[in-house]
Amino acid sequence: MDNSILRLPAEQLFEEELNALIKAETDPIPAGWRMSPRSVKTYICGGKVGKTAITPKYIGHERLVEIAIATLVTDRALLLIGEPGTAKSWLSEHLTAAINGNSSRVIQGTAGTTEEQIRYSWNYAMLIANGPSEAAMLKSPVFTAMEVGAIARIEEISRCASEVQDTLISLLSEKRISVPELSLEVPAKKGFSIIATANTRDRGVNDMSAALKRRFNIVVLPAPETLEEEMDIVKTRVEQLSGSLDLNAALPKDAVIEKICTIFRELRAGETLDKKQKVKAPAGVLSTAEAISLLCNSMALAGSFGSGDISDDDIAAGLQGAVVKEDKDTVAWKEYLENIMKKRGSEWSGLYKACRELNE
């Protein structure tokens, strides 16, 4: 593996696991796939193949993963919906890595995404010089996915303008793309599908049309159900990330992860874990993904400016940034510090003091 690359795509990062699964395959493989649906599930949810241990990529809710995979076996497109940071893109990347061995056919949906980016555009220099030809075409990831019979990903589909979203309707129902300039019709090969992700916080910005929605099977990804599950996710991800980022700091202790997850869960739910006390919830999302980046941040702080072990000060700085996104969040955060954290006893007192110093 090339160590100079900041972030390797999933299929390279987990190449060994994928190869082991493909080698050990015994079940029938759908057209255009590299392995059977069952192996895809093993790759995502973890398990063992021969002597190779498969690390779990998505923790909790195995049934949702099954539904997602089963959807792709039929020729339906898959739409993953969830709060920010519920591993939608993560899951979609790993699904395509396992099924096609290529997770890079991605279109990032933004307010500026155009129809051409979803279908095809032209190399204008060539177009003017030679006239329309296949060589002058710039094919979109969706186009190439149709040609080779693979899965294309569309991130944050609800950020795109509605007319751009609706381009997908004909692609998904006809399963062919036409290029009138060349009087060309490209039918999709077997195995073509689309995985789109959408954010519940964007609901109402560019709502998907009913016609388009109907062509997707919708899977809603929830926030982790229990504290243990969330800690598990945070721990595995921080380990993976810190390895590739060379942070020069020790991995956070379980107690630290537990504190962070507790704070995040309580603020997210608006009540303490024992459900005895109400808590003011800040406006931010406080996703699991943020908890992960917070810990990596603290590790970077500790590695570059501290002793190499994460201290309460390192975490406090990260927490402040994660929780207080708007002015009024300060109140919620201060209340939480005084009413909940202060009363949690000696184990929490270090973190409490560090947090309070930042708020004075």
């Binding site: 649906p37 069952r38 599930k41 049934r63 099954e66 539904i67 995979i69 089963a70 959807t71 076996v73 039929t74 339906r76 739409l79 919906i81 009913a210 929605k213 109907r214 099977n217 919708i218 899977v219 809603v220």
Partner: protein, 756 residues
């Protein structure tokens, strides 16, 4: 296998029912032996009658207290039911082989007693052994053992596969389980008994090859050794009775767990229908179409395309688990994904309807009636209520007074007797007659009921057999049950009220002594009020119901006195709690007005204290002032003083508004008509300087917010009189919609700072 044919089943398994019939038709046995209590054989003749329609159940219950029960529910697709039907259609002899119900009940009685003792002696709960069914679910990769069973056995392609599969399943479960001692003991006893029945059958001359034994798959291995002679132990017994009763899918689904119930009876019926049609995908197709239909009829969109997509998803989910036919969990998840757009709650109602359903069974009239049913039907006839036993809802108006033109005493009080009877049913939770709110103000002699008969009523009635042999005895038992261990005195008081409504003053005495005991403790104010209200009802309705209420009065007095003493201390509370207290104060006030036996003076003193003290919740102070005004205890001068004191400068605006709100809670028209109030309000406002007026305006506006425009008219008239101007003009100003300029002024006020 010593020649005897064993067919292992699972209760309420459609494939079991279907393949068992095939198996029987193939083997053509002379005798079928069924795993069911041997003393229930007498119900067979009723079960096979044409009028009997599943779901129904056989209920066994002990005659002595505490009542223990055992229930055997049957659905159309129950293998046992199909076996019974097959035998009657083919004229084959049928026998039940399990322990008689009286032994089952004795065993369960013993177990409950032991469990009670255990929980008393040892505080640590027994160590949990890993459950074999959970283990099974884990190993199979399915979400539960139900899904595993459905995938592997309910969707079997032929009888042979089911027969062998079920027997193997039972054998392995048996090998794996090390149950706790009680269950093992019970299983051993049952199997000894069942083996002896098989042995006796063979000895009576039926050749073993011509016998089919139908039993839970777990027991197949245990029964194979029937040949060996063994002596029967002494079986414990508790005298018991049993009856056939109609049952419902809903009840079936609430009693889930191994054997006794089934979480999705309507879905299993679909599997049964699919088997009968030889269409293996019928259940999935029908299930999804039904959900779509249900969604459409409730106004949501659900297209056929979505149903087709859901079906394809369900099948690919099944394939992921190595199956071909989707199971309930596959279909349900597919429905959530495709029809519910990923959200379970969007289609949860449709799911419940499709999985559980509303089917209710029927049994022929007059079959195996319990004594309470007999009593019920006898009284229905005596009270001339039979025509109301219909599925169409009817209204019934009762006049509880003596009918002076009637010839006999019985008919003179017919309506009163009817009322007693219907109230007893109400106490038993029998949803036959519902008491409608009285249409006449304070009429103590009229009652309006809505009467409608459903099969659910029959079920509840049969279950009430456990409480007593007649409706009256059962109601008495229920009333006692309601009071037992109850600390909430208002609940006890409700029971007392119920007893009097049922015409059972005797039953009330138990509740009364419970109330007396509980009333000695500290009780929240609002509980006292609710209790007093119930007791007050008892006393006021007592005459008409010919009840003796002398025992109730002392308790009412005691509570009343307590209420007067603690009221002022209860008025220290926030506005949320004040709403409840206010309701309580109103209740006590009306109780006090209704009964002469209560000392008015105590109440007025308590009201006066709350009304004049400044440190209590101001809304409540206002309310008490209003009550005093209503009772004409407070003079106009006193009111004037109160108004100016409550609204004076030192008082925060919030409190002033709260007080006025409290004042306006009661007898508004009386308040409006009181000219002196408006005079003092007027003079108070005139005294204010501009800044103070702004402040007062904010809270007065709030206090008058919920007055109707008619009421505002009357206020305008009053003010007009005070100011010597035309009432109509003032009214026009008061009721006018705000123009932009004044709206702006008021908006400015909304940011008004009260802290000074």
């Amino acid at each position: 296998m010593n020649g005897v044919n064993f067919f292992g089943i699972r209760h309420l398994s459609p494939a079991g029912g279907f393949y068992l019939r095939k198996f029987l038709s193939e083997k053509r046995p002379e005798l079928v032996i069924l795993e069911a209590p041997s003393d229930l054989e007498d119900t067979i003749s009723d079960i096979i009658r044409l009028e009997t329609r599943p779901p129904f159940a056989i209920l066994g219950y002990t005659q002595s207290v505490p009542v223990r029960t055992i229930l055997y529910p049957f659905a159309e697709y129950s293998p046992e039911y199909q076996a019974i039907k097959w035998c009657s259609e083919n004229g084959v002899q049928l026998r039940f082989m399990d322990l008689p119900t009286e032994t089952f009940l004795a065993l369960s009685d013993k177990m409950i007693r032991e469990a009670e003792q255990d929980s008393q002696t040892s505080e640590k709960p027994a160590e949990q052994k890993p459950d074999v069914y959970e283990l099974l679910a884990e190993k199979s990769g399915d979400d539960s053992h139900e899904t595993f069973w459905e995938r592997t056995l309910e969707h079997c392609a032929d009888a042979e596969a089911y027969h062998e599969g079920a027997n193997l399943f039972g054998k392995n479960i048996r090998a794996l389980t090390e149950n706790d001692s009680y269950e093992e003991e019970e299983t051993a006893l049952r199997e000894i008994y069942m083996r002896s029945v098989i042995r006796n059958a063979v000895r009576s001359g039926v050749s073993p090859e011509k016998i089919v034994v139908v039993t839970g798959s777990y027991h197949v291995e245990g029964l194979k050794t029937w040949e060996a002679d063994e002596s029967l132990p002494e079986f414990p017994k508790l005298p018991s009775l049993h009856t056939l009763m109609p049952y419902s899918y809903y009840r079936l689904s609430t009693r889930s767990g191994y054997g006794a119930g089934n979480k999705a009876p309507a879905y299993y019926e679909l599997i049964w229908k699919g088997l009968c049609r030889n269409d293996r995908f019928y259940a999935a197709n029908a299930y999804l179409s039904k959900i779509a239909e249900n969604m459409r009829s409730n106004g949501s969109a659900a297209s056929s395309a979505q149903v087709i997509e859901a079906l394809r998803l369900a099948r690919s989910l099944a394939q992921l688990h190595g199956g071909d036919i989707p199971t309930l969990s596959d279909i349900r998840d597919a429905a959530v994904t495709c029809l519910g757009e990923g959200s379970f709650s969007a289609i949860s109602a449709a799911l419940a309807d499709t999985e559980i359903g509303t089917a209710i069974g029927e049994i022929p009239e007059g079959v195996s009636r319990t004594s309470i049913q007999d009593d019920f039907y006898r009284q229905l006839k005596e009270l001339k209520l039979e025509k109301y036993r219909s599925v169409v809802a009817q209204d019934l108006a009762l006049d509880l007074r003596e009918n002076l033109r009637a010839s006999s005493e019985r008919s003179a009080f017919l309506d009163l007797e009817r009322s007693y009877f219907l109230h007893k049913l109400r106490v038993l939770g029998l949803d036959f007659a519902r008491l409608a709110p009285s249409r006449q103000e304070n009429a103590t002699w009229a009652e309006y009921w809505q009467v409608q008969w459903t099969t659910e009523c029959e079920i509840v009635l049969v279950e009430s057999a456990l409480k007593g042999d007649t409706v009256e005895l059962a109601a008495a038992f229920q009333l006692k049950e309601n009071v037992e261990g109850q600390e909430d005195i208002s609940v006890i008081a409700k029971a007392i009220e119920d007893s009097f409504c049922c015409g059972m003053s005797g039953a009330a005495s138990y509740a009364l002594s419970a109330l007396q005991a509980a009333a000695a403790d500290n009780i929240p104010f609002k509980e006292i009020a609710k209790t007093m209200f119930s007791l007050s009802n008892v006393i006021s309705y007592g005459d008409i119901r010919k009840a003796d209420c002398s025992a109730v009065e002392p308790i009412l007095k005691q509570l009343y006195y307590r209420a007067c003493l603690i009221m002022s201390s209860c008025c220290v509370c926030n506005d949320d709690a004040a709403k409840e207290i206010a309701a309580a104060i109103n209740m006590i006030n009306s109780v006090e007005l209704a009964h002469d036996i209560l000392e008015t003076e105590d109440w007025v003193k308590a009201l006066m204290e709350v009304s004049t003290r400044d440190d209590l919740n101001t809304t409540l102070s206002g309310l008490c002032t209003a009550i005093l005004l209503e009772r004409s205890v407070m003079s106009n001068d006193q009111l004037k003083t109160e108004v100016s004191r409550r609204l004076s400068k030192g008082v925060p605006a919030e409190l002033g508004a709260g007080w006025f709100e409290g004042l306006a809670m009661k007898n508004r028209s009386g308040l409006i008509a009181r000219l002196s109030l408006w005079e003092s309000l007027d003079s108070y406002l005139c005294e204010l300087d501009d800044e103070e007026f702004k402040r007062a305006l904010v809270f007065l506006r709030r206090a008058f917010a919920d007055f109707s425009s008619g009421e505002k008219d009357s206020i305008a008239e009053n003010l007009g009189e005070i100011w010597g101007s035309n009432g109509d003009e003032v009214s026009e100003v008061l009721n006018a919609v705000l123009d932009e300029a004044s709206q702006e002024t008021i908006d400015e006020l909304s940011g008004y700072n009260f802290d000074f």
